[in-house]
Symmetry: C2
Subunit: 704 residues, 2 copies
């Protein structure tokens, strides 16, 4: 009976994809505005397409290479033969999510600007619909990938194992986990590459345009201005989509893997998949509640966006009850109903982390207002202030995740049966991500609004339109910050579930392996040290990459100002494509080293420290990555808004010395919040995924 539940998963997938298609049609039905607006938007779209084309070519080569490597490993018996194919599909769907999201985002920017000239609500609707396409594409493709593999494995490849529920679902989960590795590899390339692109363009444009040439932001005379707008799309849209695609499928698959050791078998596997399917419907319903009036007040606008998320969450809380009740057969085993608390704790944790992220980064609250005041004594004090704000802001998310893990674990029966508690932790990650359709829509809305603001500026739309796009853009900054908090929180919970899935995978491969995961076991301890260090090393690599790529942009912009006569006077056009091209090349080249580091670390550390050491490394990387990512994201967000707060007229306003100091803070924050910080989310999941896929090799060849 339980197995018939699974049919809801492809239904959920199709629903999500239909809704995404419907939203896309709606966005495209809006007019694009004036010729100038179309011209700018086209330039951005072409730049973004060019970037993604090149990125996917490069990444395609990597995937082909990995396909061969995994194929050889499968041939040698270290992996099941499905692994190379699962790896490819994971990467393909992750990339496709980002591609579709970006396509629609670049189509929506001019339309949002144009719609804002009619009314604020129209502008919001276009931008939010564009974000929805992204959100629902991610969950639709995620559920599609899950469905295809689940049904193929269950009814075709592993049909012979059907007699014994436990070993069939074990084999299925084990094979499916590997498409997570494909998804995270793709996500890492997308996030790191996109992050480098966007910040190289941003920093490069600012350093020469704003500082040296003294022209305003988003000025069409700046040759890097289009690249800057392209960056918002390839970094914040395509990168974010690939990232959360990966968290989404990762948390579901990891929880399926945990269902077996918890003794729940197919019923336990049905819960995360059903929650995801139910969440799809809840998100669709919630998204109809996102609308606003004509007041540009930020709190009102934020309320409009939040309403959708809250309604979706409430619907999931209602629907999760029967899902758990029937799937886990709670009529017979009433104690299993505790898993319901795990769903709720995950949902609450996501909302709370988002709230505190907003508290620390929005200029409507004290921390960012105080930060902007620290600009009065210069750049050094605002830098110190931002870093300490970021560090301080790690306390509550850690406590929230801690409480959520404890509640999920013990409510799900971890006190009686350890593995049931761990299953509960996995469920809480799924619970947090069950609203992904709408939370991601809210998040992807940000870059669309940002681009719309840029286009409004460049095409010199009337003041009232600009006021509206500015309001939408400001709102986008807040949703982007809370979206990052959500991405980090869900990544941490997913990574925890994956660590446990890793241990289960080892047990499956080598039932006699003697675990010693004690923190005083030297390989574990050293693994912890190494893992703790990895996010720092990774951040250093990505920040340095941004620096190098930005230098190239600086030289190019300077060259154009020097060589193109009439550029500063506005009589000649800048060569935007050259800057886009340099960013593309730079990002492609620079993303390789950090990505390879992420893939190679678990293998190298595993070969030396063994299985226990890998587990220690994963725990260290997850904890330190979580803390560091929050610190970087929040420090960056707060600097950005502290600058905007000053620009609103406080502490001397635009052009004053405090403003200059705040610009330094904002520039430092750029790679923090848009390159290194968000990439860490993916790093910690990728480390787990690689560890799981290479478990067989490590078991056989490691020194310890």
């Amino acid at each position: 009976m339980v197995e018939s539940f699974f049919v809801f998963v492809p239904i959920g997938s199709v629903l999500a994809l239909i809704f995404a298609f419907y939203q896309a049609k709606k966005v495209l039905s809006f007019p694009q505005g004036s010729d100038l607006m179309i011209k700018i938007s086209t330039a951005i779209r072409e730049g973004a397409n060019a970037y993604l084309r090149r990125q996917y070519t490069g990444v395609g080569l990597f995937f082909a290479f990995m396909f061969v490597v995994l194929g050889i490993m499968a041939f040698m018996g270290f992996l099941t033969p499905f692994v190379p194919f699962a790896f490819i599909t994971g990467g393909f769907f992750s990339g496709l999510s980002g591609f579709i999201g970006m396509k629609i985002a670049t189509a929506a920017n001019a339309r949002t600007a144009q719609a804002s000239s009619e009314s604020l609500n129209r502008g919001l609707r276009v931008a939010f619909s564009a974000g929805s396409v992204m959100g629902f594409t991610v969950i639709g493709l995620g559920l599609l990938d899950l469905s295809i593999w689940f049904f193929l494995l269950k009814y075709v490849f592993y049909a012979h194992l059907a007699g014994d529920g436990a070993s069939q679902i074990n084999a299925i989960a084990s094979a499916m986990l590997t498409f997570g590795m494909g998804a995270s590899s793709m996500a890492l390339f997308a996030r790191v590459g996109g992050g480098i692109f966007t910040k190289a363009a941003d920093v490069g444009a600012d350093l020469v345009g704003k500082v040296e040439a003294g022209i305003p932001e988003d000025d069409p005379r700046n040759p890097a201005v289009i690249a800057d707008n392209v960056g918002d799309n390839v970094g914040d849209v395509a990168g974010m989509g690939a990232d959360l695609y990966e968290s989404y499928v990762g948390s579901i698959v990891a929880t399926i893997a945990l269902a077996v050791s918890a003794g729940y078998n197919f019923g336990g596997a049905a819960v995360p998949m059903m929650l995801a399917a139910v969440g799809t419907l809840a998100s669709i319903i919630g998204s109809f509640f996102v609308r606003c009036g004509e007041k540009t007040d930020q709190r009102v606008l934020l309320g409009a966006l939040r309403r959708g998320t809250y309604i979706s969450s409430a619907l999931i809380i209602i629907a999760a009850f029967p899902v758990i009740y029937f799937a886990l057969d709670c009529a017979q085993y009433p104690e299993r109903m505790g898993v319901y608390a795990a769903v709720i704790s995950g949902l609450f944790a996501g909302v709370l982390i988002g709230f505190f992220t907003e508290y620390f980064t929005s200029d409507t609250y004290k921390p960012t207002q105080e930060l902007s005041a620290s600009s009065l004594t210069g750049a050094a004090t605002i830098i110190i202030g931002g870093i300490s704000l970021g560090m301080l802001s790690t306390l509550l998310p850690v406590v929230i995740v801690g409480v959520s893990v404890l509640v999920s674990f013990f409510a799900s029966g971890g006190g009686v049966e350890f593995s049931r508690g761990l299953y509960g932790v996995g469920i809480s990650a799924v619970g947090m991500l069950s609203t992904l359709g709408i939370t991601l829509a809210t998040d992807a809305y940000g870059p669309v609004a940002d681009n719309a603001g840029g286009i409004a500026e460049m095409s010199r739309l009337p003041a009232e339109v600009r006021e509206r796009t500015d309001a939408l853009d400001s709102l986008g900054n807040t949703t982007a910050a809370t979206g990052k908090g959500f991405a980090i929180g869900s990544a941490a919970l997913t990574a925890l579930a994956l660590i446990v899935a890793y241990i289960d995978e080892i047990k499956l491969k080598a039932p006699d392996f003697l675990f010693d995961l004690s923190i005083v076991n030297p390989p574990v301890l050293i693994g912890l040290f190494m893992g703790t260090m990895l996010p720092f090393l990774f951040s250093a690599m990505t920040m340095r990459a941004v620096g190098r790529a930005a230098q190239k942009i600086v030289h190019e912009v300077r060259r154009q100002f020097r060589e193109i006569s009439g550029l500063m006077e506005g009589t000649a056009d800048a060569d935007y494509a050259a800057c886009v091209d340099i960013c593309t090349r730079g990002a492609q080249k620079e993303m390789i080293a950090p990505a390879l580091m992420g893939i190679a670390s678990p293998i190298v550390i595993g070969l030396i420290l063994g299985v226990n050491g890998v587990a220690g490394m994963l725990a260290g990387a997850t904890t330190s990555g979580f803390v560091l990512a929050i610190m970087m994201a929040n420090a960056g967000g707060a600097w950005d808004n502290a600058k905007k707060y000053i620009e609103s007229g406080v502490h001397g306003g635009k052009g004053s010395d405090p403003h200059k100091a705040a610009v330094v803070g904002d520039t430092v924050g750029d790679p923090f919040k848009d390159t290194s910080g968000p990439s860490i989310n993916i790093l910690i999941k990728l480390l787990s995924m690689v560890s799981i896929v290479f478990a067989g090799i490590i078991l056989k060849f490691s020194i310890f």
Copy 2:
């Protein structure tokens, strides 16, 4: 027979104290120079004394309070009756070490400047001798405290347990561990308070003096200039002394505690104590080899200082062999000789971490040179560059500590008998710290030379003298940076030994306690998360404290410039004492919250998450604290030297735009390297110490 070895410990202590006394006499025999120099030096000394008086009064109250609390706990049977007294002596000797070191440092600054007017070698000798007083006082008092308690416990209080070697040494170790908590509490107050004082004065002096009034550094017209010099003494001398005192006794006592479970009993306890005693002699001999010619070349000077350390290390390597051979009865158990490898690996790890710290922070190497070049594109790029340099520099120290732990563990027989391996890890910490007499001398030399440079500047000594003091001062920056690396490395190894000692303590108190230290056990995992976050929270608190205290100095300096007529013209004296007083009050007030956070965290977390959770927290705090401390110390050191490199004439030299950008980096680095970074070392040890002392309470009252 083995027990007669212990008599070497008081002998080593007395030797160290005699040598410190002899060096102090030597320093005081040098002339103090002109009246102006005496006047300046007196002002610094009085300021430092005033600070320490107030600090010890405040800390005295805290100790009295803790004495009562621990007394009540002992009365209720949670602690042995020695604990309150051991706590007091640990704090007392730690404070005394800092006090004596600071006394001689403030007496040596003018003498070093004066001696430099005769020859470079004389200047070096005075400064190094002053540093030696500090180094040998720390080890002398450390061994004295150890000896007193060891002999009292063994032959008086626990004499009745003498029949059974294991239970006697267990009881002794358990009682002695608590004086570590006294020492770390004292150290935390000294480091945090001193760190806040020194950076508040430094930042305050720079922000108004250099930036607003446009007068040079160390200009006597700046009212905060004396406070700045006082800060070097109370932060870098008294704070550093208390810090390493604590690592020194902590590592020895922890290793003694581990000796029992390793089955070595008194022989195993003799090894760390003997190594410390032997190290004393080796350090004394090594310090006679520190001398130089008249070339101000940095590499030559550094070589002169290093020679002493290398010779001491070589002597210890030779002497450790017979110590281990006889103490562990290796004639009968040849496999125990593997412990020797642990000593060597610890020594090497210390030297290597020091070397890489130098590589990343000295302007004779590429990283800092590249960092200074990043100032060409402004303050933002040098900030990003410094942070990523700091993050990058964490890789090698983590690998070095990892290799050292692995080597120590397995060479000492951890593969066969787990607890023997852990004993080896403790021994490697003792090995690293066995050269403390001379390494600390090299380190405490720094602030003396720094002060001497300041006095030479303020009293306008001839150019050739200034050239020499500048050379000594530059050298001091390098030794301070490597000293910090050494302090962090030894703190990490000590903290690891203390974590194991904590677990042993629980086993002793509750033999039936069921440990589950697995990283997937939720309390451990959440403990890891909390522990990983604590150093970030702590750094945020200390950085914000510096900011607040610096603001007060800024207002005071501005007030003096405004109200004291003739100050800028040099016809009226500034009110130096007022600035010293404000720094003192500020530091006293601001050090309370971070220190209490350090003391309260293990208790609060323990009451919620239980023993396993505390162990997880300690592991998380140790790993993340180690990485964060290195990142902050190295970023700060590199910014400082990148600025100095530019001042040497590169990239436009002093006053150029790149120089201004580098000053921003340097100012950000100040609290990084002198307040937050070094305080983290103590935090991670204090957390372990508090956990050990409060183990009984946690066992009884915790929720999990």
